[in-house]
Symmetry: C2
Subunit: 326 residues, 2 copies
């Protein structure tokens, strides 16, 4: 699915034309090649999965792009300054977080995105596996160099879950955030977030934010019954590139708000996207299981729980389950 | 200063004898070499800086080891299970934290110690330089794999400062901990601590704890007037290896207490080692300067400050200066 330089330029021209027809003459002028060459490029693009309509005397018109993630397609029309400054796409790697960490160590700049069509060792929290088959989901990581105070680390997960929620909402699908890092549709997981930081006590130097979204899976292995995909919910394929672009653009907005110190607003928005407040829960954190009532989300993004003895507990992370009514 | 295998064994035998005489015959039996060979090894060790007394009919006796840090000397008599499991000594590297980070990525096990006789790029918090000339200080880093909850990160600095305080106290020198990561003698800095973590929101996977102690410097460059050394305070050279061993042994104790979850005790001990409580201070944290009164250290090791408007602020890290009385 590699495009050559002229083909990439042609794709950009078609994209920039926003679905309207553009004449072959116009294209040949812009590309600086003959009409015959334009025709050859169009043919090649069609072979590679682009659906391009051609109508005599009107020209060409981009109908659909192939459902493969390419740097060209991700960058086409992406209106961000930082996020997506560099985009790396891999067909199959162990995990985008691992690759992103490696690139970050090698000096990759903040805003770099690492995308894989397939993850062979996709991970969730606590080293759990994340099922990430090829060409159906969005498996990607964002590298940022936030220089935020280290105790603001939970905010990286907070903004990411809000960003994904917003992008999915745009498809007309309602979601709930399951504290701290999952996104659910009717109780089933459609997205998981795994952030990793490198920090001193003062600042978070680098963060790798991994995002896995089930997009176009028709079904899931029976061992993960609590997973769902956007396609399963809305009944049709979802364009992964448009979804990714929406996420990157929202990410830039929320990341800027975070950098601007809008902690209170972000926590409020996060709180309102959950259904855990006031509920009786069990939380597994480290080796402990603590039961109690969720009374709040703290200003710093922690879950505040009161146990039956009235003791207050604060959590950054953990596994939360609603308690059965006795 | 490299020792060969037999010389290392001989040094261990002399160390194990705890300053008592051991006969040449005994040594030759244990090493499995001739009396003449033993004499040759003793001569070599003396050339390398070991002071070994020999008395006819009584044998040999270790008086003093060279003031060079070697793996053999660090491990001789070190009674720890985890900390110092592996010891790496470098004559001159940029910074022990950088080297430790590199080793940790390569899979170095928790408990590994990285020591340098000289750091050419020693660093303090926020990328500040740390003056670390050769053969006078203790510049080293400890790699741990703590699997502690991420919001316990401040405790790594807390235990390290308590450990260094205790080891220096054993020399009969009083110190104060300057929040969050310096150790002062009469207002001058004798030790700095720089910890770095790699973490997910759940757990700290790896921590690199860098410790720099001014031990035997006679003086400091005029541009760092607020530094002091143990030698400047007590008037004589301090054995760096013994000090290091004391620190490693205390570190293991405190690290175990931390792993056991003795957070409250550790914070209390830390609080009592500072003189900042109740004082009016300015704190520079990130781009902000906040002034107020230090009212407490939180259960989680944060500095709690009340500003003139009565707002509470919590800090993990920052630069604190006492306010001048108006």
């Amino acid at each position: 699915m590699e495009l050559n330089k002229k083909e990439i330029e042609l794709v950009k021209i078609l994209h920039n034309n926003n679905g309207k027809f553009i004449s072959g003459e116009n294209i040949s002028d812009t590309l600086g090649v003959s009409r015959t060459a334009v025709w050859k490029y169009i043919k090649n693009l069609r072979k590679k999965g682009y659906i391009i309509e051609s109508v005599p005397r009107r020209g060409y018109h981009l109908v659909e792009v192939p459902d493969k993630i390419t740097v060209t397609e991700v960058l086409a029309g992406l209106k961000t300054n930082l996020i997506g400054k560099e985009v790396r796409v891999f067909s199959s790697i162990d995990s985008t977080n691992n690759k992103a960490r490696e690139l970050a160590k090698g000096g990759a700049s903040g805003g770099t995105i690492v995308i894989a069509e397939e993850q062979t060792g996709g991970k969730g929290r606590l080293g759990r596996k994340w099922y990430s088959p090829p060409y159906t989901g969005l498996w990607f990581s964002v590298i940022v160099r936030p220089h935020l105070p280290s105790n603001r680390a939970p905010f990286l997960t907070i903004i990411t879950s809000l960003v994904v929620k917003k992008a999915i909402n745009k498809l007309g699908i309602e979601v709930l955030i399951k504290w701290p890092n999952d996104i659910l549709i009717r109780g089933k997981k459609v997205c998981g977030i795994l952030s990793e930081i490198m920090a001193t006590p003062d600042v978070i130097n680098t963060a790798i934010i991994g995002i896995g979204i089930n997009v176009n899976q028709d079904s899931f292995p029976s061992k993960i019954p609590l997973a769902t995909s956007l396609k399963q919910v809305c009944g049709h394929n979802v364009n992964r590139i448009e979804l990714l672009q929406d996420i990157l653009m929202e990410f830039e907005n929320y990341y800027n708000r975070l950098k601007d110190g809008c902690y209170r607003d972000l926590v409020t928005e996060w709180k309102n996207s959950m259904d855990i407040l006031g509920k009786e829960v069990d939380i597994v954190a480290g080796n402990e299981i603590i039961s109690g009532k969720v009374v709040s989300i703290s200003r710093r993004g922690e879950l505040v729980l009161i146990d039956p003895d009235g003791n207050k507990h604060l959590f950054w992370a953990g596994d939360v389950t609603l308690r059965q009514k006795d």
